[in-house]
Amino acid sequence: MSRPSTHASNTASGSLWMYIVGFVISIALTVGALWLVLARQFSTGTLLTVILLLAILQIGVQMFFFMHITDSPRPQFNLWILGLGMFFTFVVIAGSVWIMSFGAQGY
């Protein structure tokens, strides 16, 4: 349990800074993506690539600063669940692209 409590000493003051830093970075990544779209500085292809990169960075920030991915002494569960998450994400994205192309891909 990572709830702050008067009895447990697992919440050092360092983690407060971790949260603040993580919060600022995640906001910056979100605002950055929005700004890139509104500013229209890049071509569509480049824009999509940059936004996707920002999204992947965002996943890393969330995992490291808020999900405490490095905290657990036994990381097996984390790896399993992350793997499953990757699989489901792949299924949703690839599946949707395939379905919504309505047979245009040829079969």
Binding site: R3, V92, Y107
Partner: protein, 655 residues
């Protein structure tokens, strides 16, 4: 629309239908009655201290159960009204518009506000007790989940009398549910209440996954865990990964409706079919979210009442996990007719047929568990046995529907209606009722009456066959779903009449079930042993109802069916057991904030339904302040002193 002064639409309070007037009067009377009883018996403080602020998983379970039964009633009344409208051709009991609203609320309530809280009631009562934990991993979050569900259900049901019910079907496809075809606030009620309850559901999924992975008693390895807890783990995985898709679909449609965006319109590059795709990415796993815990309950019930350990435990675990992954790649079978092409349809048709394999493994394991067992035909066991033929037939018609070319015939016909009611009622509802009868003594400390329970079972079960078998035939004869009336010369009259009679029998079965609950509150046999069924898992080692800290001493587990093993050991040796000294128990404190924060969610949701943005933003601010206050709160837990534990245990007759 967006002014700071509330803008009341012309139909703020729904008028014009005698049924709705009746509902309005009864809502007012029931509210006045509840307020009067609470005040007269001076129960306000009790209500607040014991229930509204509780973070105890056992009390949250009771509240989920009550809510689920109430919503079962509401959804059931909707079903009765629909069947009454269809009893004869050219009926004018309900108008077309009213019929649309009723099938929409029937579907939405039964899935999201009946099945979901029912499974959460079972999660909450059984999982911590089965795995030897003192509460869930995040008790405060658990209360937040419940109250978000509660206020979302309130918001959804409010639409019946304020503003008008949603009427675009429980799937709410655009463009029908989009602004151009559906201006009224009904669709907003649907979108916002589902969004709010969805937050609660995701939180519950996270909560129980963390509880099961992190809070098992010493010695309880994953492969010693009771099968119900395994099924909850599988269901939680699906909740965590499927619900976000619903959140996205609803949010985009809400932005379309409130802010005039074009994600799902037919103009400006929008594509309504993307909503269908996103909705079913959630929607298909959702049916497995509600069926897997039922499978877990059947495993517990069949094993307990056959007096045997479950047959093929490892294959049960493997099939649960396989189902939870495969069920994520099936969703297109809900819209084969959208025309995604033979490649797509073939893939998803084959995947759909594959999911029948692990399910078949489970059915055979239940049968082999019963084989040569010492079977006791209690009410939970009756529901479990009746489930098997219903689910087998439902599965077979499911495979028929999964054949994509044939599905062009069955799609959206009554054949489909019969199929999914067969698996959802025969699976989820039968499973939850089995679980309710099974765990009722653990929740309340007394048994439900077996005699009335049998009556309810036989009425509901036989009514089920009479209701839904004619619907397969009607579907094959061309009757489509959601039609509010039909001409007399279609040859559908007799079958529709029989189906409606069956529905009435199911309704009577439900009334007998409620009578059983009411009768047993007064006359039910008290459970003084804590183990009325001669159970096998750890929850039966505790008194009924369990003390608020559950286990005075956390048990050490040495095998599967831990309580059964320890009973066997005790019967073999007379040597007094050595008890370790009691330790102070670390427990979470009650908090009123989950209730208050969820009430603010409700107010904000209500504001957005009517485009009152000022109210919406104020509520959002309130939610943020609530969360901030929680973040800054450090006095969240306490220790139960040893003397208090000793007193409680002695009062319960335990050493």
């Amino acid at each position: 629309m967006s002014t700071f002064l509330p803008h009341f639409p012309a139909t703020f309070i729904v008028t014009g239908d005698p049924l709705i007037y009746g509902a309005e009067v009864s809502i007012v009377l029931a509210t006045v009655g509840i307020l009067f009883v609470l005040t007269y018996f001076k129960k306000w403080r009790w209500l607040w201290r014991e229930w509204l602020t509780t973070v105890d998983h056992k009390k949250i379970s009771v509240m989920y159960l009550i809510a689920a039964l109430l919503m079962f009633f509401r959804g059931g009344v909707d079903a009765m009204l629909m069947r009454t409208q269809l009893i004869r051709p050219n009926m004018s009991f309900l108008q077309a518009e009213h019929y649309n609203q009723i099938f929409t609320t029937h579907g939405t309530i039964m899935i999201l506000f009946m099945a979901m809280p029912f499974i959460f009631a079972m999660f909450n009562i059984a999982v911590p007790l089965q795995i030897g934990a003192r509460d869930v991993a995040f008790p405060y979050l658990n209360a937040v989940s419940f109250w978000l569900f509660f206020f979302a259900a309130l918001l959804f049901n409010l639409s019946f009398v304020v503003g008008g019910s949603p009427d675009a079907g429980w799937v709410s496809y655009p463009p029908l549910a989009g602004l151009e075809f559906d201006r009224g606030p009904g669709e907003n009620f649907y979108l916002l209440s589902l969004q709010i309850t969805g937050i609660g559901s995701i939180a519950t999924g996270i909560n129980f996954m963390a509880t099961i992975l992190k809070m098992r008693a010493p010695g309880m390895t994953l492969m010693r865990m009771p099968l119900f807890s395994w099924s909850v783990l599988a269901s939680s995985i699906l909740i965590i990964f499927a619900f976000p898709a619903l959140t996205v679909a609803l949010a985009l449609l809400l932005i379309d409706r409130l802010a005039g965006a074009h994600f799902f319109t037919m103009f400006q590059g929008g594509n309504p079919m993307m909503y269908i795709n996103l909705f079913w990415i959630w929607g298909h796993p959702e049916v497995y979210i509600v069926i897997l815990p039922a499978f877990g309950i059947f495993s517990e019930v069949v094993s307990t009442f056959s007096g045997k350990r479950i047959f093929g435990y490892s294959s049960m675990v493997a099939s649960l996990m396989t189902i939870s992954v495969i069920s994520y790649v099936l969703w297109v079978h809900h819209f084969f007719t959208m025309g995604a092409g033979p490649g797509v349809n073939s893939f998803f048709a084959v995947a759909t047929m594959c999911v029948g394999i692990p399910t078949g493994v489970k059915v055979f394991n239940w049968l082999f568990t019963m084989y040569r067992g010492r079977i006791r035909l209690t009410v939970p066991m009756l529901w479990a046995i009746a489930f098997i033929p219903i689910f087998a037939i439902g599965g077979a018609t499911g495979v028929m529907l999964a054949a994509a070319p044939a599905d062009y015939q069955y799609h959206n016909s009554f054949f489909l209606i019969a199929h999914f009611h067969q698996v959802l009622i025969g699976g989820t509802v039968f499973g939850m009722l089995a679980g309710m009868y099974y765990w009722w003594p653990k929740m309340f400390g007394y048994m439900l009456n077996e005699r009335l329970g049998r009556w309810a079972f036989w009425l509901f079960n036989s009514g089920f066959y009479v209701t839904f078998f004619p619907q397969y035939l009607l579907g094959l004869m061309g009757m489509t779903r959601r039609m509010y009336t039909y001409p007399a010369n279609m040859g559908w009259n007799t079958l529709n009449f029989i189906s409606t009679m069956g529905a009435y029998v199911m309704g009577i079965g439900f009334i007998v079930l409620v009578m059983d609950v009411v009768y047993s509150i007064r006359f039910g046999e008290r459970d003084v042993t804590g183990d009325p069924w001669n159970g096998r898992t750890l929850e039966w080692s505790l008194p009924s109802p369990a003390p608020h800290y559950n286990f005075a001493r956390i048990p050490t587990v040495t095998s599967r069916d831990a309580w059964w093993t320890s009973k066997q050991e005790r019967s073999r040796s007379d040597a007094p057991r050595k008890l370790e000294p009691l330790q102070p128990i670390h427990m979470p404190k009650s908090s009123g904030r989950p209730f208050i924060m969820s009430a603010i969610f409700f107010i904000g949701g209500f504001g957005l339904v009517f485009n009152w943005y000022a109210l919406g933003f104020l509520a959002l601010l309130g939610v943020l302040v609530s969360m901030l206050l929680r973040s800054l709160e450090y006095d969240t837990d306490y220790y139960v002193p040893v003397e208090e534990i000793e007193q409680t245990e002695a009062a319960l007759g335990r050493a």
